[in-house]
């Protein structure tokens, strides 16, 4: 996962470490790498995550996405099966969500 693109920086699990290295094209590639083809619904969630991160300072949780972007948690599970919080963050080029502390 670390060598999809030569010029991007990722952590050991493949999450981008530089916010500005992310592009729409990269998102498509990252998503394809985990078996997801991006639809408009996927993009709505990803755009929200991208816009929320710089002001909030943390990767949004599922609850935050569902409350503020209006996408029900159930749908997030359908869009990003299994581990939606992690998969969304991965595709959106943001740090792995903390889960908790």
């Amino acid at each position: 996962m670390t060598t999809i693109h030569r010029e991007i920086h990722t952590d050991a699990e493949g999450f981008l470490t530089e916010y500005d290295e992310w592009t729409d094209d990269l998102a498509v590639q990252l998503a394809a790498g985990i078996g997801i083809e991006l639809s408009d619904e996927h993009w709505k969630a990803i755009r929200f995550l991208r816009e929320d991160y710089p002001t909030h300072g943390e990767t949004a949780t599922l609850r935050r996405v569902s409350t503020l972007a209006g996408i029900p948690v159930k749908q997030l599970f359908a869009l990003f099966p299994g581990k939606p919080a992690k998969k969304m963050a991965y595709v959106a080029g943001l740090p792995k969500p903390r889960g908790c502390v």
Binding site: E13, R63, F77, G99, C100, V101
Partner: protein, 414 residues
């Protein structure tokens, strides 16, 4: 005369009120604490209630607050940050120059469909509330065997190690009653492991494994089917139970949301080093009421309060705030059979093994089960009532220290 209003007389609110009262001139500063109920609850004691412990859980707030601090009992309806006023449900209005929000976080079983209902406090329990802990004690006494499911709805929760501690204590409880073989214990978590931080998660995961406790990870509950005694997740997995001990969704106080001061869980967004509201500079949120990216725990409330107090003196003088909170948290973890372990961490350093608090001298051990840690946890109750909430000196620094800690060589982050 300046007026400081503190909403909430729990750990953080009481510590801050007492520390500030000692140093702010009585003739120049009026300090008011507002809380819903007259008694202060020793929350760490709730964990032991289901297993028979019950000492010293409640004390009158009035007795814990220094003379010269005004205590108002009432429920906050809303804060108006423009007018700098607090409106109470009974219609009273209290004006402030500076506001400290310390109303904590609380369990909200109403937020998960099917949780509150005919089975609540019968086959579905919580232990983070006074009534809940006592109801669970009766349920455990009467439990004749079957599947016990310990469950966390969603992070963040207050005292994130408590559900694990409950699980360890329950396992020991059934063993001592010689019915362990009739009880299946399952720990259900929305996280991908036993705990949130990798090294501690591995240590704690190993302890669960040794005790033959099954762990279900990545389980985000959508609803409780109380009739079928089943937890149902968003991705349609099901876990049946005979006795469910759940940690409901935790949320900040409703007035925070109603006043437009909160995030999606009614926590006040603050600067993580100064606890100052990001929207209103004369409002600070301390303890569990803010959105700090560290544990919601009494130790955090205590350590961050010390930083806040130092900054507050600078702030009211118009100076820059120079003290920075590092996210320091410190938690005893009961593991059953009279033993416990201890974790100590901050924003940047996850819990590591070693000795605490006096470097190699210990006497407590980090991430390692000992009897001394268990006694430390029990002795803490005295420290809490007599030193901590009164704002007196404690031998633990508010900033985390690396002294006595080491990184286990074999433990490398995946």
């Amino acid at each position: 005369m300046k007026r400081l209003v503190i909403l909430g007389g729990g750990t953080a609110g009481t510590v801050v009120a007492n520390k500030l009262r000692r140093r702010l001139v009585l003739e120049d500063w009026r300090i008011t604490v507002i809380d819903r109920v007259p008694d202060h609850l020793y929350q760490p004691g709730l964990l032991f209630v289901p297993f028979g412990g019950r000492e010293d859980l409640l004390k009158p707030r009035r007795r814990l607050l220094r003379a010269g601090i005004e205590l108002l009992i009432g429920e906050v309806a809303a804060v108006d940050p423009e007018r700098k006023s607090v409106k109470l449900l009974d219609g009273d209005v209290v004006c402030y120059d500076y506001l400290v929000i310390a109303t904590g976080t609380s369990s909200r079983p109403d937020q998960t469909p099917g949780m509150l209902g005919a089975e609540w406090r019968h086959s579905i329990h919580d232990f983070y509330t006074y009534d809940g802990a006592f109801a669970l004690r009766d349920a455990l006494q009467g439990f004749t065997g079957g599947r016990l499911v310990v469950h966390v709805v969603e992070q963040p929760i207050k005292c994130p190690v408590a559900p694990l501690e409950f699980t360890f204590l329950a396992e020991a409880f059934f063993r001592w009653r010689e019915m362990r073989d009739q009880v299946e214990i399952v720990y259900v978590t929305p996280l991908d492991g036993a705990f949130t931080k990798p090294i501690a998660s591995r240590y704690l995961g190993r302890l669960l494994d040794e005790r033959k406790i099954t762990v279900e990870t990545d389980f985000l509950v959508e609803r409780v089917d109380a009739d079928r005694k089943t937890l149902v997740s968003y991705d349609e997995r099901e876990i049946g139970y005979d006795l469910l001990v759940t940690v409901p969704l935790n949320m900040g106080a409703d007035f925070i949301g109603a006043s437009g001061l909160g995030d999606e869980l009614n926590y006040v967004p603050v600067d993580k080093h100064t606890l100052q509201s990001r929207a209103h500079p004369d409002i600070f949120a301390i303890g569990d009421a803010n959105d700090l990216p560290t544990s919601k725990a009494g130790s955090v409330a205590h350590f961050s309060s010390e930083i806040f107090v130092e900054n507050f003196f600078q702030y009211v003088e118009g100076l820059a705030m120079t003290h920075r909170f590092d996210g320091h948290a410190n938690c005893f973890v009961e593991t059953g059979d009279g033993k416990g372990l201890l974790i100590d961490f901050n924003y940047d350093t996850e819990p590591l093994p070693g000795r605490f608090p006096f470097g190699r001298l210990g006497p407590l051990s980090l991430l390692h089960e000992t009897k001394a840690n268990h006694w430390g946890k029990l002795a803490f109750r005295w420290i809490y009532w007599n030193l901590l909430v009164k704002g007196r000196w404690l031998p633990i620094p508010s900033r985390m220290s690396m002294s006595g800690k080491h990184r286990p060589d074999e433990e490398v982050r995946p």
